[in-house]
């Protein structure tokens, strides 16, 4: 099958307890409020080999979900070149909806109540997040644009893409390796719109 080559590094920048955020920790036994984690993902391969497949990602678990699980709700968001899909509507069985909002990522402490759309074959929910330079052919994230989504399971997250290039060079040139996403996100597991 397809051998995918991922260079994936994650840094968990939890302000509170780093220990409490291991994967199997969120069972009902602990009545404590789950911590909100800010996560940074670097160099996520988004079909760099141009095979036509999406790289599926779980925001809840902070990991890549194999394509064999594409028909499940295990993944939240998928990346293929500049196209982003979310697990819902025409893209997957989940109930994910999303919108691109304009503003300052750090200042958004409460997700918008409405404005979310589902993926449709013709129009994906996430558009307008990047700017294409016709002369240099460089793809740059639109400054001040970021994504707020409801994940496959209906939880809120906000996500900001910082670079489309490997190792996120400050000024990508034509030799920069594209289709490598660098982004950060905040996932709120408790179902509220709070990002604080």
């Amino acid at each position: 099958m397809k051998k995918q080559h991922f260079i994936l590094g994650t840094i968990a920048l939890s302000l509170s307890v780093l220990a409490s955020c291991s994967k199997n920790d969120n069972d009902k036994a602990a009545p404590v409020k789950p911590a909100i984690v800010s996560t940074t993902v670097v160099n996520l391969d988004a079909d760099a080999a141009n095979k036509g497949t999406f790289t599926l990602y779980s925001l809840a678990d902070n990991k890549i979900i194999p394509n064999s699980d594409s028909a499940t709700t295990k993944w939240d968001i998928g990346f293929k070149a500049t196209t982003l899909i979310i697990n819902g509507g025409s893209s997957g069985p989940g109930k994910a909806t999303a919108q691109v909002v304009t503003g300052i990522y750090n200042n958004l402490t409460l997700a918008p109540e409405d404005g979310y759309v589902t993926d449709a074959t013709a129009k994906k929910a996430i558009t307008g997040w990047y700017s294409y330079n016709m002369t240099t052919h460089i793809i740059s994230p639109v400054t001040g644009a970021f994504i707020v989504l409801k994940t496959a399971n209906g939880n809120y997250a906000k996500l900001e893409i910082s670079s489309y290039y490997k190792d996120a060079p400050a000024t990508p040139t034509e030799t920069a390796v594209s289709r490598h996403y660098n982004f950060r996100y905040v996932y709120q597991p408790d179902g509220t719109r709070n990002f604080k």
Binding site: I104, Y105, S131, S140, P141, V142, T143, G144, T171
Partner: protein
């Protein structure tokens, strides 16, 4: 190299006393003394053009205070912070046609037989109608002097650029006949090791011009003139299937007949017939099998009869009135049918001199057009001589620029990419047709709204002083403010089933440009002249700036790397506009020894080049072109009683290049040339 601070400059200050009696025509459409006309006029005379060793018009304009040479579908000129499409280019008072995407390519004009160039900054739509929004550049070829001269010039330089020029002027009792021919060749150049296509393609151009002036009686005069230009370029590029040759031709001709009648010294009337044609023909073929990649043509015709009368009603009142008609037609690959434009116009101007010190010019022009709303362009200019050394000048006026052919009638399907561009007049019909064919998914803007695309228009204010601060020195200061409304921009009016857009044109943006210009000149001793010029320029997209004020435009902070609102002071302004520009010229002229030499330094500060991060304004470092300075040198020596003149020039002494941002700037360029002049 050069700091912006104290540097003022300007290349055109000649400080001879005879300049004070210099006559200009562009500001009022009749002869006026340069030091009396209430509108600031910059004059570049033949001697200045020759001392630079310039061959093409853009070389001359590039060294003028407040002008920038731009490259967008041809070499254009930016004036008072407004792009090339807003400046009207005239040849002996008649408009030059053949603009591509708004730009009149200045490299089509060789300067060899130019007597002088008059530049007016600020709108003159009150006399010339459309396109005279930022200003007017009038290229004047007719000589004032009736002297018989024949000359031949040869020049050779870097990039195998050479030109040969011959001209003769034959005066006779009742008239003057002149003819000029020029051949220009350039092998082009390639910067930065680009192998897929040349930075500037090799091209050859021929220009031929002639003029016959005859005074039939004291009262009747005719002037018949014609110009022909032909250019061929050879370029190449590649796509996935191989190399493609791109060969094209550009032809341009104009002819005019002026019949003037002066029944008495207070009245003159002129009938002008002007015809111009501009045509391009391009063919792209694969090198391998000679199969066609693309072929295109463009033919534009322009016919203008015009009548003008100048009547001195009273020693203090001079009235100028005119009426004219323009018929323009166009046929091209990207247009469905042959298109025709008709404009009728009248203009009226009163020059009132209530006192010796006060000069008031009030006028306006009304243009009625079959394709867009009628335009009325008034202008008021006043000058006041405070004392013998100083005068102040102020003006307020409206300028406009008509929607052009493509904005009204283009019909272009980009087969390779899949989008469509339609002119506003065709939008409704084409969209309906596409809908019937099932090509349209969604309509964003009702095409009925587009029907009345209006002209872009401005209100402009200029206020300045001119004078002589010291003996043998000149000073000019001008403040300008232009507010342009109804800017035409492209909008996606519908989405096709292939998810690409159908574009058309709408009036949306509003921009403001303002700033100040200073020019100083000083003669030192018998042989030295020094001149400097400086322009401070600020520009603003008004709607975007409103968003900046509301904190809705974002930038990435250079230190924290976090997104934050762009502050008002960080808003740089429109793209391609430098805040500071300066020039400094030092000339040594020793007539007895036949030597003239000069050094010119040109500086422009950083300017926005492109938007990379989607906030529509230059903010990060890579979105700017860094500021730079260039130094040009020229030296000439005359021999054999000034019959032979030898000249060497060195442009761009320090070999400054920036291929990514400024492809039109080759590196260091050397030229040598000679002119043999024979007086008869």
């Amino acid at each position: 190299m050069m700091r912006v601070g104290t540097l003022f400059a300007q290349t055109d200050t000649t400080l001879d006393s005879k300049v004070l009696q210099e006559v200009v025509v562009t500001a009022t459409r009749n002869e006026q003394l340069l030091n009396k006309v209430p509108i600031p006029v910059t004059v570049i005379n033949k001697q200045q053009i020759q001392s630079m060793g310039a061959v093409l018009l853009q070389q001359v304009l590039a060294e003028q205070t407040g002008l920038f040479i731009t490259s967008n579908h041809g070499t254009g000129v930016q004036m008072q912070g407004l792009e090339a499409e807003y400046t009207l280019i005239l040849l002996d008072g008649e408009p030059l046609i053949g603009r591509t995407a708004g730009t009149f390519d200045l490299s089509r004009m060789v300067v060899s037989n130019i007597e002088r160039i008059e530049i007016i900054k600020g709108p003159v739509s009150s006399l010339y109608g459309s396109d005279a929004l930022a200003g007017v550049i009038n290229i004047i070829t007719s000589a004032g002097k009736k002297e018989g001269v024949t000359s031949i010039t040869g020049r050779y330089g870097s990039n195998s650029t050479y030109n040969i020029d011959g001209s003769t002027k034959i005066p006779y009792t009742k008239g003057l006949f002149s003819v000029n021919a020029n051949y220009y060749n350039s092998n082009g150049y390639t910067l930065g090791g680009n192998t897929t296509s040349p930075t500037v393609s090799p091209f050859k151009a021929v220009t031929a011009q002639s003029r016959w002036q005859h005074n039939w009686t004291d009262k009747w005069q005719t002037i018949l003139s014609g110009r022909y230009y032909e250019q061929r370029y050879n370029s190449y590029f590649s796509d996935s299937k191989g190399m493609i040759d791109d060969i094209g031709k550009e032809k341009d001709m104009n002819a005019s007949l002026n019949i003037s009648n002066t029944p008495n010294k207070n009245f003159t009337q002129v009938l002008r017939m002007y015809y111009s044609r501009y045509a391009t023909d391009g063919e792209m073929r694969y090198q391998q099998d000679k199969s066609s990649y693309d072929a295109s043509f463009f033919t534009q015709n322009y016919l203008k009869p015009e009548y003008q009368a100048d009547w001195r009603i009273h020693p203090k009142h001079q009235l100028t009135a005119g009426v004219g008609y323009v018929h323009e037609s166009l046929e091209a690959t990207r247009y469905d049918d042959k298109m025709a434009f008709n404009t009728g116009y009248v203009f009226l101007q009163e020059n009132w001199k209530p006192t010796d010190a006060l000069n008031i010019l009030v006028g306006g022009r009304f243009d009625t057009h079959n394709q867009y709303p009628s335009q009325f362009s008034p202008k008021l200019s006043i000058s006041y001589q405070i004392n013998p050394a100083w005068r102040i000048l102020g003006s307020v006026g409206r300028g406009y620029r008509a929607p052009d052919f493509r904005q009204l009638y283009l019909h272009f399907n980009n087969a390779a990419v899949g989008y469509t561009v339609v002119g506003t007049k065709l939008a409704a019909d084409i969209l309906q047709e596409m809908q019937q064919q099932g090509q349209i998914k969604k309509v964003n803007i009702d095409p009925a709204q587009l029907k009345d695309l209006n002209a872009e228009s401005s209100w402009s204010y200029n206020l300045g002083v001119q004078g002589n601060p010291f003996v043998h020195s000149t000073a000019k200061v001008n403040f300008f403010y232009n507010k342009v409304n109804n800017l035409i921009d492209t909008r996606a009016i519908a989405v096709k089933t292939n998810d690409l857009a159908v574009y058309s044109y709408v009036n949306v943006n509003r921009i403001t440009t303002w700033g100040a210009e200073v020019e100083l000149g000083q003669t030192i001793g018998k042989y030295w002249q020094i001149a400097g010029g400086y322009q401070y320029l600020r520009t603003r997209d008004n709607d975007l700036f409103e968003k900046v004020k509301r904190g809705e435009v974002y930038t990435k902070d250079a230190t924290t790397k976090e997104t934050r609102a762009l502050t008002r002071s960080e808003y740089f302004g429109l793209f391609n506009r430098s805040h500071h520009a300066a020039n400094l010229k030092i000339a040594y002229i020793h007539s007895r020894l036949g030597i003239d030499a000069n050094a010119r330094v040109l500086y422009r500060s950083k300017y926005g080049f492109t938007d990379e991060n989607g906030n529509n304004t230059p903010d990060t470092k890579s979105e700017f072109v860094p500021g730079y300075a260039t130094v040009n040198l020229a030296a000439a020596k005359s021999l054999f009683h000034q019959q032979l003149r030898l000249q060497a020039t060195l442009e761009n002494l320090f070999n400054y290049t920036d291929p990514q941002h400024i492809p039109i700037m080759p590196g260091r360029i050397y030229t040598t040339g000679f002119t043999w002049t024979f007086r008869h």
